[in-house]
Symmetry: C2
Subunit: 633 residues, 2 copies
Amino acid sequence: MGIRALGGLFMSATTATVPSASTIEAVKEKGKRLSILSMMSTTAAGSGHPTSCMSAAELVAGTFFYAMKFDPKNPNSPDGDRFVLSKGHAAPILYAAFAEAGVFPESRVMTLRQFSSELEGHPTPRIPGVDAATGSLGQGLSVGAGLAIGARMDKSPTRVYVLMGDGEMAEGQIWEAAAFAGHYKLDNLTAIADVNALGQSEPTMYRHDMEIYRKKFEAEGWDAQVIDGHDVAAVLTALDRAKTIKGKPQAILARTIKGHGVSFLAGKEHWHGKPIPKDQLSAAIKEIGTPIDLPPDPGRSYARTSLPKPPDFPTPAAPDYDPSKPIATREAYGFALKRLGAVNPHIVAISGDVKNSTFSEIFGDAFPDHFYQGYIAEQNLVSAGVGLAARGKVPFLDTFACFLARAYDQVRMAAISRSNINLCGSHCGVSIGEDGPSQMALEDIAIFRAVHSSSVFYPSDAVSAERLTEIMARREGINYLRTSRPKMPILYSKDEKFPVPGFKVLRKSPQDKVTVIGAGVTLHEALKAADQLKSEGIPVCVIDLYCVKPIDGKAVAEQITATGGRLITVEDHWPEGGIGEAVLSALAQVGVAPSKSRLIAVRDMPHSGRPDELVDAFGISARHIVEAVRAIA
Amino acid sequence: MGIRALGGLFMSATTATVPSASTIEAVKEKGKRLSILSMMSTTAAGSGHPTSCMSAAELVAGTFFYAMKFDPKNPNSPDGDRFVLSKGHAAPILYAAFAEAGVFPESRVMTLRQFSSELEGHPTPRIPGVDAATGSLGQGLSVGAGLAIGARMDKSPTRVYVLMGDGEMAEGQIWEAAAFAGHYKLDNLTAIADVNALGQSEPTMYRHDMEIYRKKFEAEGWDAQVIDGHDVAAVLTALDRAKTIKGKPQAILARTIKGHGVSFLAGKEHWHGKPIPKDQLSAAIKEIGTPIDLPPDPGRSYARTSLPKPPDFPTPAAPDYDPSKPIATREAYGFALKRLGAVNPHIVAISGDVKNSTFSEIFGDAFPDHFYQGYIAEQNLVSAGVGLAARGKVPFLDTFACFLARAYDQVRMAAISRSNINLCGSHCGVSIGEDGPSQMALEDIAIFRAVHSSSVFYPSDAVSAERLTEIMARREGINYLRTSRPKMPILYSKDEKFPVPGFKVLRKSPQDKVTVIGAGVTLHEALKAADQLKSEGIPVCVIDLYCVKPIDGKAVAEQITATGGRLITVEDHWPEGGIGEAVLSALAQVGVAPSKSRLIAVRDMPHSGRPDELVDAFGISARHIVEAVRAIA
């Protein structure tokens, strides 16, 4: 069993069994080799976290070389078991395990952290076998839960292993994920906790009190086993037992020693994130086992050259709205998802207990097997989406736009993961009205623009909301849709196209004095202002900037130049990082600057009131646009 | 005992006791009145969450009118017990309790959610008695923990009560706070969970399985009691018992019914966030008790006019650096905090297990009673800071800049709380080097700029880092300090002043062709570029933009105009929302546009490498600045 896997394609025990003495010995040797390679590579790099690797050596060896089924020639295959290194700073031991498994040569680990190497300081999907970037702690269990749900949807026997540190178990997201996995009875998910009792700066909160962790996982409906993480027989037995548990995820809670195996490191503080000095390396290696002599690395890169793209799908049914009936863009999002679900079986939606506000319930009611209740746990919502995307699903994740701020670090990490995820944030801006500022997203454009690989869409009617949702399902990267609470008139025919980048010119004449750019409620305010100004003899150009990122600066510049360089932007958002700055920045990129401009935005802290009262009181209504136009026309 | 408090200044049992039948009856009546006022005010408003109030009626009545000591004439006094409504959507019952207590007239609750009323849809500190805004769920327990720690530091007998909903207990932050409060043995903190089993869109994950909640709190070292939340005797007994527990925070886990007391609401789905229709209100009220006849509200505002400011303090010792020795700004932050601690007893620092990287340990070693280990739980870190600030402390909260993204929703809510908190994010940008992108903050300027009331400081040497830290301690609002990992040369003498807004002109001649604006590592690259360009006969003006928000647009415009309107910004940050856009936006506000500009920023996803390799490879080094200057000069 198991140990035969050491030769090539890994094989594992499929029923609970007693590992043989020779198996235990072989895994023990693998663990020593992983520890030694972790020390060697970090000392060579001059930085890194060897002691955080050494506490996990037997856990990683047992998981990779005993428990997992995994094809080292195709390490990202969804058919293989998956391993998520949630404690990303232990990257060197992950790379050592991949090397030992034959994913790349052992010599490659000695390029750790070099500019030219794919073996980065923390794992990213540039590295073969890695599904998601880790290194911001506490996110891996959610990613693993997403992978596990995806595997279950695919009826795949794939198992998912997540290695966590105890330091990161202070992150609330771990417990969001534990609750989520327990609730959905993800018995194909095994979490392994490397409880080495030392954080970066001092001992962890619970040190080696293993029973606290047991109680916490058991409370969430998990099977939990406490073991000595350096006892290979115990590790293998626990891994075997985990596979036999039905209807529950399993936690293997391993008591370990940071820096295990080397006397001057083991259990010592002040060694976190420090490589072993060159002159002490050989002594340290000798304490663990035999020195490893590696050939010079030939310098061939093993970076993954192709990363997953969203799967293609047939054109969905066109939007179908009565042009005389106003409808909210948030509701159109729900209809769009439902139409997409009919032609794209990869779509999976998760809502943060607001499906009846964001309208993802329209999709959920139509495709209940593709819809998950995410409860009020936005961090897990986003990272689980990253796991789903890594398995080829097309996740649509929704909550109020302001609450996506709760998962901003997870979105940031999703970008580093080169993940293709779609986020819908409803209830943007002061136009939500009476609920008050805690429910108003006034920073979402800024924060989503500042994500690498992101696209930011902001529809102003139901047709564009639907079309942009379809575009998101086909588009790589982090896609964000900003939807609005109020009903708004239909602007476009159902066959209108919405290229990315792009915008629509809704009012235009050769006499236009100013270009006014808006989106969402402010576009409708701009249209009202334009009608009034036209009657006053001041025609203006009005642009619907449905795509806030990317922006075609040249095309925008042409419009603005045609109105004498006079520009007004107006947005239901803070001025910082919003539409105004996005437009100025896009113009600067093509060497154009407006001759006169006004960036109209929300500048004071709003409070409760009716939407129309707030839009006016906080300075973004037609009246304010008219005044601004008069001032610069 | 207790019930006598109903008349005016509240009094409570100070030892465990058996509440009398008349006390129970009186609190029961109060609970009914609170329910009825919650229904009346939301129906009048036409929106709001009456059923979420009704589940908590007896809990709120018992807490306010039996357990708490509280002066309704001075409801924010730190001498009184504190009440944090973590489930902020139950605001109407909080306002009803304040009204019943005499903070404002009962008629005032009928102005709920109106534009002209301070009684917003969710609580904010504009409302007397409220310490922190709630409404983004799961943050109140952390705020309560901060208040409780502050009270303990002040040796105050103040107790802190936090009312949570079960829906929000899916948020990981609740469990970060529970761990934190348990670890610090905050026995002056009582959490009351209103477990009504219904979320917004469907039943909660655990419905009425009270034992799960009990296990979770007990695992964190809390005393936990499960009660029937509508049994007033049980509520009062639990509140009494909580006061007797020493060395542990206490959780009162109350099984409740959403919409309790009204047959067509009680325990029914699809009533979340819906007021009772006008034509059903009177029937609903009759099911609970006697209709309440209120006079018309006279319209007098009760909004708090003065909110807490950071306390003044004497000038600390000046920075003291050898001008020939480079030092990192992150280290200077630690020295600054220590110097401040010597003159300002209100300073409290919390670090997210990185005190040896952010250097807050320098302060912690000097003032151990003013330093808390926050472990790896950034959300709790920030919200606990809000609680400390509400008690008049001056919190300094630190972690890597990228991990502050983990707490962005909490920062957003801190702004709505009109909180005065100071955040230090170290390890910004690609210049951290080998650790790779998961540890690099490339979006922090964007996200902190997009916070109302925020200031963003970005020092380029140790002296400015120290001076800006001192400025933060005196400054209202959300202050963010972006510190850097690499050592950098000293630029300023120890007596240099750093006004806000402001910048320093480090290279200047009448012949300057271009203004180059940088900060942090890019300022030093700009200085190198300027030296090279000068030798090539292309003198440039170099500006240290140590204050990225606010910016004095007029002053910046003068500099840029003096160089023919030619502008280059360079930053170790994504282009979106960073220094470049901040400068363009500030110029636009004063009607100035650069004639030619280049916004140099990090535009590709970075990876591991040496700091100097990365600064160059990702386009922000002196070489790139020189090229950009040549292109537009």
